[in-house]
């Protein structure tokens, strides 16, 4: 059996296949099943990628905040690792949402970015806020302090995400459409099916990548612990300062 299969396990493989199927199905529905929007035309197809990425990244930041609360309550480093991985991944999804949104803005409005639009600017603020998470961790040498300060940051920033979302809802939109609202959204049925499939697909992608990262970090920690026990060079000790949490092998 290949080593990689042993390292990551069967459940993760099943989850990966499910993610690939749902994501491909969602994009296929968006391309071939969902009708072309009357106002924006074909460029509206970016919506099925951009909006799920934005929603999942914001949920990931909130999940990171919840894990950070768990860390402060229990002092269990596994929760710190979960928060770190979730925020790290959400940041990548957030960057992808910004880039795809910018491309969509150019196609629909003729401009790459509109500074007057609260939805766009607030999303950029959230991205920039979380972009300071890694430098914050890296600036603190003591691992215990690093985890604690990072957890406080993740909680405060995590609370800011829904507040920010609400504030944007209350503001008057300039040109950015409101897809999800209290009256059930303005999407027709065909578009809604494709859209929700894409949201589920992107959410599954997030969970799969998060699980891969977590498993890889645990495996690495266990290997280093084994190496120490066998008298090999202690990689954790010689690697110096790092933004990543130090994972225990247990």
């Amino acid at each position: 059996m290949p080593t990689s299969r042993k390292l990551y396990g069967t459940r993760l493989r099943v989850l990966s296949i499910l993610t690939a199927v749902v994501l491909t199905g969602g994009f296929a529905l968006a391309a071939f099943y969902a009708p072309i929007e009357a106002d924006q035309g074909f460029s509206q197809k970016i919506f099925y990628l951009h909006v799920p990425l934005a929603i999942v990244s914001l949920c990931g930041f909130i999940f990171g905040g919840i894990c950070a609360i768990q860390y402060l309550r229990t002092n269990d480093p596994r929760h710190d690792l979960r928060a770190y991985t979730a925020i790290h991944q959400s940041l990548i999804f957030c960057a992808a949402a910004l880039v795809t949104g910018s491309i969509w803005a150019k196609a629909a409005w003729g401009q790459w970015w509109v500074w007057d639009e609260p939805t766009l600017v607030s999303f950029l603020i959230v991205f920039l806020l979380y972009a300071t998470y890694q430098p914050l961790r890296f600036s603190i040498e003591d691992p215990e302090k690093q985890s604690r300060y990072a957890a406080v940051f993740a909680i405060v920033a995590g609370a800011f995400v829904p507040l920010n979302f609400l504030a944007v809802r209350l503001a008057n939109p300039l040109i950015h459409p409101r897809v999800l609202n209290t009256s059930g959204g303005s999407l027709p049925g065909d578009m809604r099916v494709a859209f929700y499939t894409c949201v589920v697909g992107v959410a599954l992608l997030f969970v799969t990548l998060w699980k891969y990262e977590m498993t890889a970090k645990h495996n690495r920690a266990q290997l280093r612990s084994l190496k120490r026990k066998l008298g090999g060079p202690d990689a954790a000790a010689i690697r110096g300062r790092s933004a990543a949490p130090r994972v225990s092998a247990s």
Binding site: G41, S43, A96, T100, L209, A216, R220
Partner: protein, 73 residues
């Protein structure tokens, strides 16, 4: 159906290609890490072999058990 790409089709293709590129870069980084992990695993295997063949010279020692997880023994 027309063979021509619809208006603004280039932007749609660019957005999805950006997503694909991000995914591919992510997968490449994860693959690099996995291969590094496998290298470390074989190093641990080597250290375990050395430990077994060392002072105790007891291949049936219980300490030898976990290091066979790499499947290379």
């Amino acid at each position: 159906m027309s063979d021509k790409l619809p208006t603004n089709g280039g932007y749609v293709a660019a957005a999805y290609l950006v997503f694909l590129a991000v995914l591919l870069v992510y997968f490449a980084i994860m693959a690099t890490r996995a291969s590094r992990l496998e290298r470390e695993l074989s190093e641990v295997n080597r250290l375990a072999d050395e430990a077994i063949e060392g002072p105790s010279a007891d291949p049936g020692a219980p300490d030898a058990e976990p290091v066979n997880a790499g499947g290379e023994a």
